[in-house]
């Protein structure tokens, strides 16, 4: 659980909000020749960022307004909150040190984990060392 600062109501508990997914996805200009792939890209495909991520939130139990949040998805730190139609503020954030060597994109992706050789000669993924 974390506290989200609603641009109108101020800091409130996360349970009052609902997340609306990735922000700043604009509907493509109406074209008759749009392919299914292009529509699928707009309708379904979303980035799954680890680190800085812009998402929409709705203060569902309070003022019922939508707004944007810049959140670090790996630490849940909320870096900025801004209203609909506003430009995202320029913020930067880091990723936490991951001693188990997680991949930079996503988490739990075993295929991308760094392979290390243990002292006894057996090969292991780093997170089990």
């Amino acid at each position: 659980m974390f506290v989200i600062e609603c641009p109108w109501c101020g800091p409130r508990d996360q349970s009052e909000f609902s997340c609306g997914g990735e922000a700043h996805i604009s509907r493509p200009a109406e074209r008759s020749d749009m392919s299914d792939e292009e529509w699928a890209e707009f309708v379904f495909m979303r980035t799954n960022a680890k680190g800085l991520f812009a998402e929409r939130w709705n203060h569902a139990a309070g003022c019922r307004r939508w707004f944007n949040v810049l959140r670090n998805t790996s630490t849940d730190e909320i870096l900025a909150v801004y209203r609909m139609g506003e430009t995202p503020p320029d913020v930067s954030t880091g990723l936490p040190a991951t001693p188990c060597g997680e991949a930079e994109i996503g988490s739990g992706n075993d295929a991308a984990k760094v392979m290390v050789e243990a002292a006894d000669g057996t090969t292991n993924t780093r997170d089990t060392v």
Binding site: E16, A61, G62, C63, R64
Partner: protein, 207 residues
């Protein structure tokens, strides 16, 4: 014609703690109007209408001519009060806003109003919500939408409340949530002396 409407909580009887520290009751007679309008345009148009400014500060309210004007959102307000007072204000408001795009609706049947009062009312509400209800933070006239138990409701501490006396909180809740909210409030109030509810026919109250 007599008013045949049945309030959302007509089947519940008001509860009061023996020492008067807490009481729970429905306010079925409260009239409500919801207003959606652009705040800046509305307040410009209402300048000529004396005493009818809409509160623009989030989570506050204004009390004018017996009606409480509650801020619900940056373009949304709720008018709450006695039927005659709300009707009188509605007519003046309609005249004032005639030239701008707005929506003014009777939301009385959509909502139920539950009053929780007494010196332990804050403590009973604190058991159900994550809102900061400290007397220095949630003050008379304040409004806040939040979750109470699992129900979405708007909490209002009457501006007319005298700090020397015990606070009276109003909870404005969707009609279909009213019975659930009533039951969680009754349950939360038991440790402050609220008596057990009389179950409806066929209803099993958890101990």
């Amino acid at each position: 014609m007599p008013d045949r409407r049945i309030s959302a909580l007509a089947h519940r009887t008001p509860l009061q703690a023996g020492d008067g520290a807490l009481s729970l009751a429905e306010r079925p007679q409260v009239a409500m109007r919801g207003l959606r309008v652009d705040a800046k345009a509305a307040n410009r148009a209402l300048k000529k209408t004396k005493g009818l400014a809409l509160p623009e500060t989030p989570n506050t309210s204004r009390h004018t001519e017996g009606v409480h004007i509650l801020w619900l959102g940056p373009d949304e307000w709720l008018f709450l009060g006695e039927v005659d007072a709300v009707h009188a204000l509605r007519d003046r408001l309609g005249d004032g806003l005639a030239q701008i795009h707005h929506q003014l609706l009777d939301v009385r049947d959509q909502n139920a109003v539950i009053a929780l009062s007494g010196k332990r009312a804050r403590e009973a509400l604190m058991k159900l919500t994550t809102l900061d209800l400290h007397p220095g933070v949630f003050r008379p006239g304040d409004v806040a939408g939040s979750l109470f138990g699992r129900a979405t409701a708007t909490l209002h501490l009457l501006e007319t409340y005298d700090p020397e006396r015990d606070p009276e909180f109003l909870l404005i809740v969707r009609r279909s949530y009213a019975d659930y909210l009533w039951c969680v409030l009754a349950r939360a109030g038991r440790e402050f002396g609220l008596p057990d509810q009389t179950p409806k026919a066929g209803e099993i109250m958890r101990p």
